[in-house]
Symmetry: C2
Subunit: 131 residues, 2 copies
Amino acid sequence: MNPLTERLRGAGISPTRQRREIARALLARPVHMTAEQVLNAARVRAPEISRATVYNTLALFCAKGLLRELAVDRDRVVYDSGLHPHHHLIDIDSGEVRDLPAGPWPAIDPAQLPPGFELAGVEVIVRVRRR
Amino acid sequence: MNPLTERLRGAGISPTRQRREIARALLARPVHMTAEQVLNAARVRAPEISRATVYNTLALFCAKGLLRELAVDRDRVVYDSGLHPHHHLIDIDSGEVRDLPAGPWPAIDPAQLPPGFELAGVEVIVRVRRR
DNA sequence: GTTATTGCAAAGGCTTTGCATTACG
DNA sequence: CGTAATGCAAAGCCTTTGCAATAAC
């Protein structure tokens, strides 16, 4: 039926009304959104949704691999629904995030890691400012 | 005289007692420290130093280019006194930060940036976990 | 009917602010 | 002396938590 609902089910997540609205805002296409933006977007169709539910759901989606959390800087966190390997270009003044193809940087060779560690992820952030 | 004091002067920073203690903790060698760690370290020799002063001073040192602020994740920020180009390896469980040589990643070609933007910095974070 | 999910409001943690006091040149 | 820096406590912001009400299966 609804592909988003199926995606939630596939990830082992009960597709409640609130979660479906959050998924609609976030998972329909690759986007970068703050928690507040997600709340506002979800409230368009589900006005009663609470901050707590948004935060719970964002953490749940991250844990299930539907989202990535991206620490833009000390006080900006965005949730990224682009699942393909990619990096980020960030306007340091506005906080706007844009995707970069993962191409320019080689993958990490796991053998180069310190002994006893395994790779959990690589994050590349290119910060720019308007000239 | 004192090389750290001279460095502060060279950066256009009045070397007050508190700032000298913060510089001693942070700038004497390349380290990664949280604001709280800086406060504790500075209080060893300047017990009256306040959180507000530490935060003010960290922001000042960053603005003057003596430090870089590194957003490890949503709730971990460290200040990095390593000034040479380098990237970071982070234990996602402990938050421990280690430097990586900048080598494996080529420098960004400024011509590749979107028009109207200039490069402000590149951050590479390799996240690992204990196996 | 049970169990999971939600909403609310309060609590939390870290950072910033306002302002009087103190140190500095 | 005049300006800049500091300390304190309060305020802020975003996020999490506790718990009763609600919805899902």
